[in-house]
Symmetry: C2
Subunit: 479 residues, 2 copies
């Protein structure tokens, strides 16, 4: 078994386990109490705060422990927005922030505020100039992740922070993915993190609010954690979180270099091993341990299950692997293929052999999943060199009766009611039916089609001519 989903959650680091066990005995009492058990708990809490602050690069009294990274984001965003509500009610975020940030932004909109979502390029990176233009006098807060959780792209945080500082807008950095690797650079104002992303226990987030940043805690008052994280302190978990962050950081540089080489190998070899696959995310400015790719004609959920059976645990931003039926907002914002999406995030200690086994297994797994939906290699004649192929109709596609040929070298495929990846598979089969320059109209009501049909065109060289309602027009290359 190889667990390649480090970006979701990590097993407890041995240092975290040891610290947790020790502090279960020492840190269970209420640190607000005056008795010896309370004072002992307070000492542990203070020491953990000191240690975490050193790793983050802030003062201990700027760092608050929260029950999760999500709580840190929700509390940090709400507190900073409220603290600056007299300045303005505009919030700037990147379009590829974690859903906790985007949900907080939606809550801000429901409360009457406005949100400016800064677009990203096809690699998932915000443009610094566009970021600067989004700031302005009425801007209360800007949020930018240090690195993207789905595709690994590192954001220009230091540059964004400079622009924010210049306009007096506080920058909140969601550092959940990068904090295990290094401190966040630049002159940021608020920062959040989540311990289970670095091998700490669940139940611990970090919220750092720099001195001088206007901040007004929202919700009911509470005496704990300077009013920024209500509820009884989870001291054993906090101690374990702080200890493991230091332990992980001590090995981060060497481990990052090693994993970066393994990820480079996956990035290079997957497109060669698996036909019609796209590696997404910035190839250079990226997290060391994370790589994401999408495979045409693949049901993401089926692919995850097949990889699981083959002994590999990965995650996916495909719509069919989530409860929402919409593809990951990150892939959507990047405008890249979402079907057959796989995120591989290697935990520290992943061996060469595990990665080799994965690369050995992947082609067969993808082929098997494609065969299940009638899209095994050879069944589809629509590759990047589509224009040079014969225009012979695919017997499969004709046989299912969903395709009609119009007078004007146009074929219409009715894929309504069919979910990803079927609309794209039917498009791919139909493109062989029209001559170069001919048009395939796809009727599709699956949300993913909106992303995957244009992305398929980008990958295969055909021309996406636009969508109107449920109708997508694709012109065959070479016309």
């Amino acid at each position: 078994m190889s667990y390649f989903d480090a970006a979701s959650s990590l097993p407890l680091h041995p240092v975290a386990r040891q610290a947790l066990l020790a502090s279960l005995d020492e840190g269970w009492a209420d640190p607000a109490r005056l008795h010896r058990e309370g004072r002992r708990a307070r000492m542990l809490l203070d020491a953990a705060r000191q240690s975490a602050a050193e790793a983050v690069g802030c003062r201990p009294d700027e760092l608050h422990f929260t029950p999760s990274g999500t709580h840190a984001l929700h509390a940090g965003i709400a507190g900073a927005l409220t603290g600056r509500r007299r300045t303005g009610r505009r919030l700037v975020v990147s379009a590829v922030e974690h859903s906790a940030v985007l949900h907080a932004a939606e809550a801000h909109e429901r409360g009457g505020g406005t949100v400016h979502r800064v677009d990203v390029d096809r690699a998932g990176r915000v443009d610094v100039q566009e970021w600067g233009e989004a700031l302005g006098a009425d801007c209360a807060l800007a949020c930018l992740q240090s690195a993207n959780h789905e595709v690994g792209t590192v954001q220009p945080v230091a540059e964004a922070a400079s622009l924010c500082a210049r306009t007096g807008v506080p920058l909140l950095v969601d550092a959940a993915q990068s904090l295990p690797w290094e401190p966040v650079p630049g002159d940021w104002s608020l920062l959040t993190g989540s311990a289970h992303k670095w091998g700490g226990p669940p139940g611990v987030g970090l919220l750092v609010v720099r001195k001088g940043v206007r901040f007004a805690p929202t919700g009911p008052a509470d005496e704990r954690e300077a009013g920024r994280a209500p509820g009884f302190e989870n001291i054993p978990a906090v101690v374990a979180a702080a200890a493991s962050l230091r332990a992980v950081r001590a090995e981060a540089e060497a481990e990052a270099a090693r994993l970066r080489a393994l990820v480079d190998r996956i990035r290079a070899r997957v497109p060669a091993l698996v036909p019609e696959t796209e590696v997404v995310g910035d190839p250079l400015r990226r997290l060391p341990h994370l790589v994401t790719f999408s495979c045409l004609y693949v049901d993401g959920e089926a692919l995850l299950h097949a990889l699981d059976t083959a002994g590999f645990s990965v995650s996916s931003g495909s719509s069919c692997t989530s409860s929402t039926l919409t593809p990951s907002h990150v892939l959507r914002a990047m405008g890249v293929l979402s079907e057959g999406n796989v995120r591989v995030s290697l935990p520290a200690g992943t061996s060469d052999e595990e990665v080799e086994r994965f690369l050995d297994a992947l082609p067969g797994v993808v082929e098997g999943v494609r065969a299940q939906v009638g899209a095994a290699s050879g069944a589809i004649a629509s590759g990047g060199d589509a224009a040079e192929e014969s225009a012979g109709a695919s017997a499969d596609a004709l046989a299912d009766g969903s395709m009609e040929t119009s007078a004007d070298e146009e074929v219409t495929v009715d894929a309504r009611g069919k979910l990803c990846p079927l609309p794209v598979i039917e498009l791919a089969k139909a493109i062989g039916e029209v001559p170069a320059g001919g048009v395939v109209r796809v009727l599709a009501d699956d949300e993913a089609a909106r992303l995957d049909i244009p992305a398929w065109c980008e990958m295969t060289g055909h021309t996406f001519e636009g969508a109107a309602g449920v109708v997508f027009r694709v012109r065959r290359a070479g016309g």
Copy 2:
């Protein structure tokens, strides 16, 4: 060392520790993921939910794990109020709820809602009739604790729930203190609890929302725990919490009977052993393991430290033991003495011998603390039989020059700028200066005086004639 502060927090129950260790290895992954680690985590979470729901007496899909009892209260109150905002914006609470409830009520008021605080009697219990009268057509929610956390008084929850049901008002029960002992009786609508109060780990609260109760989660959306508790699930802690709740409940009946006898012993013997001490809280309708008393002429913080040195960890609702400089709102609402307040809450397993040692040590500890503030027994001539004592002035009190005798058999004591228990000590000394029927005017600006001077009168038989600003008038008994 005897830890007698179970009502604050308990060390980890052995069953919780075992479950926590086991699930650290099995339950660290994201339960929303499809891979085997995720599915295993999901199974543990589901099993814990099932188990906790059985102990609470609800359906598993009605129970949500939150990061703390405080979070459960904040989310439960906000969600229920928002769900019924079209019905009305009035919130009914008892005056002796946990501060997390009262802070949520204040937040509701800041947001434009109204709050009706139902008074309690001198034993800390709400009057059922008054409770019923507080409900009404515009009432969105009522909150009543199952038992008070400071004095142990059990509230008439089942009766309150019936009245709520009759008027269609949902009742939220804060069951933090009683849940280790038994399920909450009656037809309640929402319920909260906190695992570290029963020997579970910190970081786990319970929020139960009965099917059919209107509930609208507030704050940013989140997919986890039905949107009622955002953030990554803390599965190892949740598993440990559920396992220990069952373990604690299995022994609750026998242990409650045993501890009740020990508490009865403390209730009976403390007033006999320590002069001028009042046991507070309902003598019968109370938690099995908790007893609270207040000692006249004692600095609560000094008493806590002295008990700690003597090997006993207790807590206190005296103002000088908290950062707020106001006495516990519970003691205030009850109208009982707050100075020298001590809460003894026995953990399961407390032995006869430990309680005997406490009872042996207490008189000397109190005497020592009283001596520090010049109030050792004999130094004050103002006991319950004050009227029969000689009216000889206390040399100490006269010597410090803070007392003046007026023409009209009135003595004025200026205790402004002095903190609890000094104003009461000076009053007690001065009462000996006036004849029966004479008056002592105390000038005092410490918040605690407002509570402690009337309470002192109640205990000693003198007449409290009222306060105006910083001036308190007390008429000596027997006039």
